[in-house]
């Protein structure tokens, strides 16, 4: 049996699955002050009817790191940056303890300028004086040559409880993203590790002896042990849980759009090429872009509790949510109330909905049914427009070869899957707004927890080889070795895949035979003075997000 827990903004859901389907599920209100209480509550509840020894693993999607970052309750971090020429690194200042340590590395990893020992010493002295205990060591182009990050790490080590090295988090380029990612990682490190300890104790006290995995924003998981040094990877995993849930529940076999409609927002995701699309750039948090991989989603302020506004005769809904709908005792009419008035649903106190909408209608000279109709139509159109924009953005993404430009595949969704609390209510109007067929899966109420339970491990690595320099480097895995001048793309590809597999073995993932995809590969002849000087080889491969196949049959529904 597989156990999934999704700690969401409002509810914490747990689902227990076996090959035959859902064995048990639990839902409690999320206790924001103490997420562990919520987890303990659903765990205890769901394990009453089964033997905990039967549970093969626990996957957990948690908002812990997200909340700590967004609410600024994280720990001060000493950020020490080796910058080099380009955009002034002062613009990337983050936190109260940000220091420039000189040094420059170029795009091929050549050291142009050494670190400034004096600047490093001064940074350390300042951090020591301020009692800073966790650090981030970040260099420009450290994914090409980590020497400066390593030197910073060595220097701060005696002072530090924990140091994040920028190149260890991702092989992708993006200096300011690397700074932000390393900063956030260190800032939540202590909090996350305490939480991880508590989760492990809680699981053990409930009789669980299985591995624990943490959900990531890319729809995959990482073992709890890995998450202890990369807690930033756990941010914003909520939407991913829902998307993975729908993929588990429905047999998605064509390009599709997935709409997860909640109280405040609608998250739009896209499924293509047999998997949910992953954003090429990392996700942003607190307005800062990071290198954390995430599903390509677009979030808009339309949800069941979006407040309805009339201004200058124009009826709109969202993006604000002032509270629950009037049917739930709220003070202002929302889209749910409009659905009640239109008799699309009969939710809660329908009379309250009717009187709320009537009052608003009276003020604006409309009759209640028309107002409700306009508000719903507005919401459906917004969702349709934003979906179209997302698809356009995906299809307009830059490409860099003539072949891709001429032959590149376009995403053309044929189906729209709707999930979330108000999914059924919205689906009726979305059917009119979309030309594609609009489907509402049966088990959508627990899809998020099911998605968490069934999500598999994901890993991605980038290999970078420069045969002129005779080096091969896989930043994320910290693999580095000398290579001969004859080192080829075939060898690089094989080596990237082998290293990724070794890593999967080392972290003891439950499914070590996951398919590895080569996402991008390129080889460039480097020419100097009209002669071939070497080859510049890049390989990017991944284990893409997916769900445990064997369990899909049990929870599959008609959709």
């Amino acid at each position: 049996m597989l156990l999934g827990i999704d700690v969401g903004g409002t509810h914490t859901d747990a689902v227990l699955l076996d090959l035959g389907g859902i064995v048990a599920s639990r839902k409690v209100r999320t206790d924001h002050a103490n997420l562990l209480n919520s987890i303990a509550a659903v765990l205890a509840g769901i394990l009453t009817s089964v033997d905990p020894a039967q549970v093969r693993r626990l996957n957990l999607s948690t908002t812990l790191s997200t909340n700590a970052i967004v609410e600024g309750q994280s720990e001060p971090v000493g950020v020490i940056v080796s910058c080099g020429p380009g955009i002034d690194p002062e613009y990337y200042r983050v936190g109260e303890h940000y220091f420039l340590a000189g040094g420059a590395v170029d795009h091929r990893g050549a050291v142009l300028e050494n670190l400034s020992e004096a600047a490093l010493d001064a940074a350390l002295a300042a951090c020591r004086a301020d009692g800073v205990k966790v650090f981030a060591a970040v260099g420009k182009f450290s994914t090409r040559n980590p020497d400066h990050e390593d030197a910073i790490l060595e220097k701060v080590h005696p002072l530090a409880d924990f140091v994040t090295s920028g190149h260890a988090l991702s092989g992708q380029l993006g200096f300011s993203r690397r700074i932000n990612t390393a900063y956030f990682n260190s800032s939540v490190w202590r909090l996350f590790n305490r939480f991880a300890d508590a989760v492990q104790r809680c699981a053990a006290s409930n009789g669980l002896r299985c591995p624990i995995n943490i959900l990531k924003a890319d729809g995959g998981t990482m073992p709890l042990t890995v998450s202890r040094s990369q807690p930033v990877e756990s941010i914003l995993s909520g939407p991913a849980a829902s998307v993975m849930g729908i993929i588990a529940i429905c047999n998605i076999d064509c390009d599709s759009v997935i709409l997860d409609i909640g109280g405040t927002t609608t998250d739009i995701a896209v499924f293509a090429d047999g998997a949910p699309l992953i954003s090429r750039e990392g996700i942003s948090i607190s307005g800062k872009p990071t290198l954390v991989r995430a599903l390509k989603t677009r979030s808009i302020g339309i949800g069941g509790d979006s407040a309805i506004t009339v201004q200058g005769g124009l009826v709109t809904a969202g993006p604000r949510r002032y509270g629950p709908c009037m049917a739930d005792g709220g003070e202002r009419p929302t889209l749910i109330d409009a659905f009640n008035v239109q008799n699309i649903i009969a939710y809660g106190d329908t009379m309250a909905s009717y009187s709320g909408i009537s009052e608003l209608a009276m003020e604006s000279g409309l009759d209640p049914e028309t107002l409700a109709d306009y508000a719903i139509a507005y919401a459906a159109n917004r969702i349709r427009e934003e979906t179209a924009l997302l698809i356009r953005e995906i299809n307009e993404k830059p490409v860099y070869t003539i072949f891709e430009l001429l032959e590149g595949k376009l995403v053309r969704p044929a189906k729209v899957y709707v999930m979330g609390g108000p999914a059924r209510a919205f689906a009726t109007v979305l059917r009119e707004a979309f030309s594609q067929s609009v489907l509402v899966p049966d088990n959508h109420a627990v899809a998020n927890a099911a998605g968490a339970a069934l999500a598999r491990t994901t890993v991605d690595v980038e290999l970078f080889a420069d045969t002129q320099k005779g080096r091969m480097f896989i930043p994320g895995l910290r693999v580095e070795r000398a290579v001969p001048g004859s080192y080829s793309l075939d060898q690089a590809r094989a080596e990237a895949v082998d290293n990724l597999r070794d890593y999967l073995g080392a972290i003891e993932t439950e499914d070590p035979d996951l398919p590895v995809d080569v996402l991008e590969e390129s080889v460039f002849n480097m020419v100097e003075d009209g002669r071939l000087a070497g080859r510049n080889i890049r390989v990017k491969c991944q284990v893409k997000p997916g769900v445990v196949e064997a369990y899909k049959r049990g929870i599959r529904c008609q959709c």
């Binding site: 020429p85 380009g86 955009i87 002034d88 690194p89 613009y91 420059a104 170029d106 795009h107 091929r108 142009l112 420009k140 182009f141 380029l173 993006g174 200096f175 300011s176 993203r177 750039e281 872009p289 307009e396 993404k397 830059p398 490409v399 860099y400 070869t401 003539i402 072949f403 430009l405 001429l406 390129s522 460039f524 002849n525 480097m526 020419v527 003075d529 009209g530 002669r531 071939l532 510049n536």
Partner: protein, 439 residues
Amino acid sequence: MLKGKRKLGVVFFPAYDWAISSTHPERQERLLYTQDQLLEEGLFDIPGVTEYKPELASSLDVDRVHFCFPDVESVTTQSHFVSAGGAIRAAKLVMEREADRAFALIRPPGHHAMKAVHGSRGFCNINIEAVMIEWVREHYGRKRVAIVDTDCHHGDGTQDIYWHDPDTLFISLHQDGRTLYPGTGFPMEAGGPRALGRTINVPLPPGTSDEGFLHVIDNLVLPILDDFRPDLIVNSAGQDNHFSDPITNMNFSARGYAILSERLGPHIAVLEGGYAIQGALPYVNLGIALALAGLDYSHLREPGFDPDKYRQSAKITEYIEEITPQIADFYFDPPKTPKTGRFEGDTYVRDKEIHYDTDNIHEDQTETLHLCGDCPGLLIIESRSTVNPPCLGVEIPATACPACHAKGLEAFEQAQIKSKYRYIQLINRKDKDYQRFLI
């Protein structure tokens, strides 16, 4: 936080699967390090800076500009349609006000491609900027356009295409033609009889550094632009004036390029040459992008840059200060007649011998402009080359008078009957009609 003063659209297309040959300067690797640098710097994470992909230009877009013999397909590859399409995309961003400035970081380049095309010269087959500008004029009306070419090589192709066009100002800053390919671009080359002073050439001595380039920008280019009042300023942003460029001899720096871009303020910059692909391009391209977006580039410095080491000599400074006002006069007080070409009756004729170094083709050409008091006049090009028998090109301008319009159609028709030419092409801008006739 970083935020640009202006919205910048960057059309980045490195054509990683295209090269002239595997060790040629125009090879797959050319923009690899530039892309690395832009990604590492996070250029596209800056609010207001957006990356776009090229459109694909069509043969029609090329036919509007060039006489391609025997036809467009024979003298181009897909890469040229993508490159021109990239420039068109950049122009569209500006024209549709999706961006305030646009940078087409594309290859292959185009500024050595002339009006008639038999093959590739100076790594160029079709003139990317001209295809873009004429696309703009076809879709948005007859705009006044200024092209400022800051590639180290004289933009002889662009000069040839706009030689007779008074609505297009072409200013080229380049290393003196006596010391570098293509060996042209002297001040007396100032445009045809209908467009005298609309072509301005500023040959600079080898060793010119930031100081010299910026002196010419401040004291020649900007005053001329102020007077010309273009609707659109296009920068042919070649980057081979850089001190580390392997095939030229100038001392320009990445910061110098950024300052130049800021002062010039082009609506659209289009990459041309520049082959110091590791030591210069990543930094120069970043500098141009930052300057176009109105972002701080003060921290930009390429490896090995030492202002003292690369400062131009006092002699060069003196020389540039001396020639600048003289060259400015070619715009403000142009000569009464062109220094090249000849008048035959009511026509102006230029005989040209054109060498296509990249494809090793030789072309003999006679260009005839029918002088007309009512319109820019009918243009006829007779051409033959080592790869093509005699060919004819007839261009009727968009603002042609009825007489020139009729004369142009007649010339196209007569050529088909007389079979003196093997390939005949009509560019009829007035009716937006582009035809080709093969005998």
